[in-house]
Symmetry: C2
Subunit: 139 residues, 2 copies
DNA sequence: CTATATACGACTAAAAATCTCGTATATAAC
DNA sequence: GTTATATACGAGATTTTTAGTCGTATATAG
């Protein structure tokens, strides 16, 4: 079906909100505002802070805020954190599928994976919000 | 997880084989050669012939062969046939998700979807095999 | 007529994504 | 120092999607 997970959607929705308001929000505030399951969103925000995207503040009046500016947050990196893994085709990680002996598409799929992946890595969160896009392909 | 389905993998494996050998093969031959579940592959090949990619021949000595040359078979079209649908983000088809009222990423996701989709539509099966990639992007 | 092939819908099984629960830890406010 | 509010994190349940199977019908070469 080729689509990003709800986790990635939820993460992007919140990150865009952080950019728009330049503010600190708790997981509960964001979950209620966007109607996202709280426990799920909490784990997503934890992942983002574990990976240096957000800074977390414990205790009352705590919450999350940006660790670094939107133009230094990379979209490819976000997918890497949230999509475990981005692979485009399963044989890129599971080398021993039932077709591996006679597989005739692995390198071709890998090439496409790189093109698409490079595209995501060429975009920052700022680009995502501005709907800018560097050129894809030309490898 | 962002990857193509087994159906797409199996289809590409067989299509590449058709190109390499320029031959006619039955579903059973291909299933045995590539170690793909026969019934599943049969349905995939049926989809491809329903959509004008392959020609099917009934009866003994029957099977499948190309309906048109590899350079006129489009990768985006193949995904369209096999991935039902290619959407990148779920809100593109399910407009009423729980966040729809306050969603702040739909148009941004749509933009990315178009860039990636256009890339796939810029490639033919021949390009896929040659690992070429046309440049698109810059939208 | 028979063997071999495609056509196609319904069903089951397996895998993955999504969501929930329980418990631990940190800290601001009082 | 107690309490209320927040993050941290692993385990488990549920739902959805994908992958694979089964049964039956139809076409056709020999």
């Amino acid at each position: 079906m080729i689509k990003v997970s709800k986790e990635t959607e939820y993460a992007l929705i919140c990150l865009v909100k952080f950019v728009q308001d330049n503010n600190k929000y708790s997981a509960r505030e964001l979950a209620e505002y966007f109607n996202i399951p709280f426990e799920l969103l909490a784990k997503i925000l934890q992942k983002l802070s574990q990976n240096g995207i957000l800074r977390s503040i414990h205790g009352p009046q705590g919450g999350y805020m940006f660790e670094k500016p939107a133009h230094s947050i990379n979209l490819g990196r976000l997918l890497q954190i949230l999509e475990n893994p981005v692979e485009t085709v399963s044989c890129l990680t599971h080398r021993n599928c039932r077709q591996s002996k006679k597989c005739n598409i692995r390198q071709n799929m890998e090439h496409i994976h790189h093109v698409v992946n490079d595209y995501f890595f060429s975009l920052t969160l700022e680009d995502f919000i501005a709907r800018k896009s560097a050129a894809i392909g030309d490898r």
